[in-house]
C-alpha cells in the first residue's frame, strides 16, 4: 500500500500480544441502559411486574459490558445452572437485579440478560421437570 498519510515507526512486533490495542470508543449506551435498570427496579419495588433486558441487542463497545458489570457489582447470590451448557445467574449488589449469562457447551455466550425480578424464572424448578422427577423417584423407590 502506498502510504500517503502518517506512518509512524514501522517496528515489527515480536508477538500478537505486543500490539497495543487501545479503543477509546464509547457508544453512549451504558448510561441509558443503567437508567432503564433503575426504572425497572423502582417498578419492582412498587410491587409491579419484573423486567428482562436483552444485553445482546444493544451495540456495546469493547469494555462497556465490563463497565456495566462494574457498576452493578456482585451481591449475595451466585447460581450455576448446567443445562445445554453452563448458565451463571449472579445477583448484583442491587437486590432484585440479576445478571444472567447463558453459555453453550463450547463456552460461547448465547445469551446475556439483566433480569429485574424477585427470582429469575430459570432458577425455579419447572413443573414438567418436577412431574417427571416425581415419576422417576417413585420408580426408583419401588426397586
Amino acid at each position: 500500500m502506498g502510504a500517503t498519510g502518517s506512518r509512524q515507526s514501522g517496528k515489527p512486533v515480536s508477538s500478537i500480544d505486543a500490539i497495543p490495542v487501545t479503543a477509546e470508543v464509547v457508544t453512549g449506551n451504558v448510561a441509558p441502559l443503567l437508567h432503564e435498570v433503575r426504572h425497572a427496579l423502582k417498578r419492582l419495588a412498587d410491587g409491579k411486574d419484573g423486567t428482562v433486558i436483552d444485553l445482546q441487542c444493544l451495540p456495546l463497545a469493547p469494555g462497556e459490558e465490563e463497565r456495566i458489570e462494574e457498576v452493578l457489582g456482585q451481591g449475595e447470590v451466585r447460581a450455576e445452572i448446567d443445562a445445554l451448557g453452563p448458565t451463571i445467574i449472579q445477583e448484583t449488589s442491587y437486590p432484585g437485579v440479576w445478571l444472567v449469562t447463558h453459555r453453550n457447551t463450547e463456552q460461547a455466550v448465547v445469551g446475556r440478560f439483566i433480569e429485574v425480578t424477585h427470582i429469575p424464572e430459570l432458577l425455579k424448578s419447572q413443573q414438567a421437570d418436577i412431574e417427571n422427577g416425581a415419576n422417576r423417584l417413585e420408580n426408583e423407590l419401588k426397586n
Binding site: 500500500m1 502518517s6 428482562v52 445482546q56 445452572i81 445445554l84 453453550n104 448465547v110
Partner: protein
C-alpha cells in the same frame, strides 16, 4: 427421523429438561431479535411445532456456507435448532450417497409435498447445464424440480441469493441466483459470504416458531438481520465522525483502531448483522480485526470497485480517458478561437472595402 414429531417432544427425548428448553427458547428469541417478553410465546410455539422436512441443495458453491453453520462438533443452541429440523438431504452432512441419496430426496419431496423447506447454496450456471451437475441432473433442472412443491426457499449465501463469486465479471458460467429462476415461491435471501451462522439458524428458528417466513427487505433478506447497515452499528463510527482514519494497515491510526474508510471499508453501503452479532460466537468481525468491510452481503460486491479503494473514489474509469477528453477540448478550443479570429478578420476586411 420422524417428521410428525412435535419439537418439544423431540427435545425431551434428547434429554433436554424443561429448564434447558426455556434456556434454548430464551437464546432463540434473542437470536431472532425478539424482546424478552416474547420468550413465553416462543416456548409455546416451539413446544408444539412439528419438525419440518428440509432439503438442502448445493450448487455452484464453495461449501463455506455449510462450514459456517456446522463448524462446532459439540451440541450448541444453534446446532440444536439445526437438529430440530429434519434434514432429509445434504451432500456434505448426509451418510447416504448415490442412488440411495437421490431416492431419499424424492421420498422426502413426496411425503411432505407443499410443506418442506428448500435450502439452496451456490449459484446456478445457465451457460451450459454440464458445468454443474448432481447425479447427472443439471442444477437448473434439480432446482426447478425440487422447488415445485416446496413451501418456501431459503437461498443461503451471496451465491444463491445474488449470484455471488461465480457471477463476478466476466461470469464465465452464466451464473444466476435462485430468484432469477424461481419466481412463484417465497424466497428468503440469507446473503453473506458466508452468512453469519446465527442468521441462518435465526431464519430457521423463525420458521419453527411461527411457521411463516420473516419480514423481508427490498432484496428479500430478513429485515431483522439485514435492516441496519454496518456503518450505523460500527463501534469505530466515532472515529469516522472525528475524522480519525487509518491510512495504512500498520500505521498509528490502525494500531489505535481508527476508522477504516480510507482503506476501502464498504460499511456505509452494506447491510448485515456483523457489527452487532459478530462472528465465532460474538468474538469479532472484520472491522474489529482491522480490515475494512468487503460488503459481502450485497449483490455484485466483487465488481463494486476494489476492496481497498475508498467508497467515495467511485468507479469512474481511467485518468487517461480524462486526459483524452482534455486534449479533445483543447483542440476544439483552439479550433473555435481560430475560426472566430478569421471571421473577425473577414468582417473587418469586408468593412474596409
Amino acid at each position: 427421523m420422524r417428521n410428525d414429531q412435535f419439537l418439544g417432544e423431540y427435545l425431551r427425548m434428547q434429554g433436554v429438561s424443561r429448564r434447558g428448553f426455556l434456556k434454548f427458547c430464551s437464546a432463540t428469541a434473542s437470536l431472532m431479535a425478539l424482546p424478552p417478553s416474547a420468550v413465553g410465546q416462543v416456548a409455546e410455539a416451539l413446544a408444539t411445532a412439528r419438525r419440518p422436512s428440509v432439503i438442502w441443495l448445493s450448487f455452484q458453491e464453495c461449501t463455506g456456507c455449510t462450514e459456517s453453520l456446522t463448524r462446532s462438533h459439540a451440541p450448541t443452541v444453534e446446532s440444536l435448532i439445526f437438529d430440530a429440523i429434519s434434514l432429509d438431504y445434504h451432500h456434505t452432512l448426509q451418510a447416504a450417497s448415490g442412488y440411495g441419496a437421490e431416492e431419499a430426496r424424492m421420498a422426502a419431496m413426496e411425503e411432505n409435498a407443499g410443506k418442506y423447506l428448500l435450502v439452496v447454496d451456490g449459484s446456478i450456471p445457465l451457460g451450459n447445464p454440464g458445468f454443474s451437475t448432481i447425479a447427472g441432473i443439471s442444477n437448473l433442472d434439480m432446482l426447478k424440480e425440487t422447488a415445485e412443491n416446496a413451501f418456501a426457499i431459503i437461498a443461503v449465501g451471496t451465491c444463491a441469493a445474488f449470484g455471488g463469486l461465480p457471477r463476478a465479471n466476466p461470469n464465465p458460467t452464466g451464473a444466476v441466483s435462485v430468484s432469477d429462476i424461481i419466481t412463484d415461491k417465497p424466497i428468503i435471501n440469507v446473503s453473506g459470504c458466508p452468512p453469519i451462522p446465527v442468521v441462518i439458524t435465526g431464519v430457521l428458528a423463525h420458521f419453527l416458531t411461527f411457521g411463516t417466513i420473516p419480514e423481508l427487505d427490498a432484496l428479500g433478506r430478513p429485515a431483522a438481520f439485514f435492516g441496519q447497515n454496518i456503518h450505523d452499528r460500527c463501534y469505530r463510527r466515532p472515529f469516522y465522525e472525528r475524522g480519525q482514519f487509518a491510512e495504512t494497515f500498520d500505521d498509528e491510526g490502525a494500531r489505535k483502531g481508527w476508522c477504516l474508510y480510507k482503506l476501502g471499508c464498504k460499511g456505509p453501503t452494506t447491510y448485515n448483522a456483523c457489527a452487532t452479532l459478530k462472528w465465532n460466537g460474538g468474538t469479532s468481525f472484520p472491522i474489529q480485526s482491522g480490515h475494512g468491510c468487503l460488503g459481502c452481503s450485497e449483490p455484485n460486491f466483487w465488481d463494486k470497485g476494489g476492496f481497498y479503494d475508498p467508497l467515495s473514489a467511485g468507479m469512474w474509469g481511467s485518468r487517461d480517458a480524462l486526459l483524452g477528453a482534455a486534449a479533445a477540448g483543447a483542440a476544439l478550443g483552439v479550433g473555435s478561437a481560430l475560426a472566430a479570429r478569421s471571421r473577425k478578420k473577414k468582417a473587418q476586411a469586408a468593412e474596409e472595402v
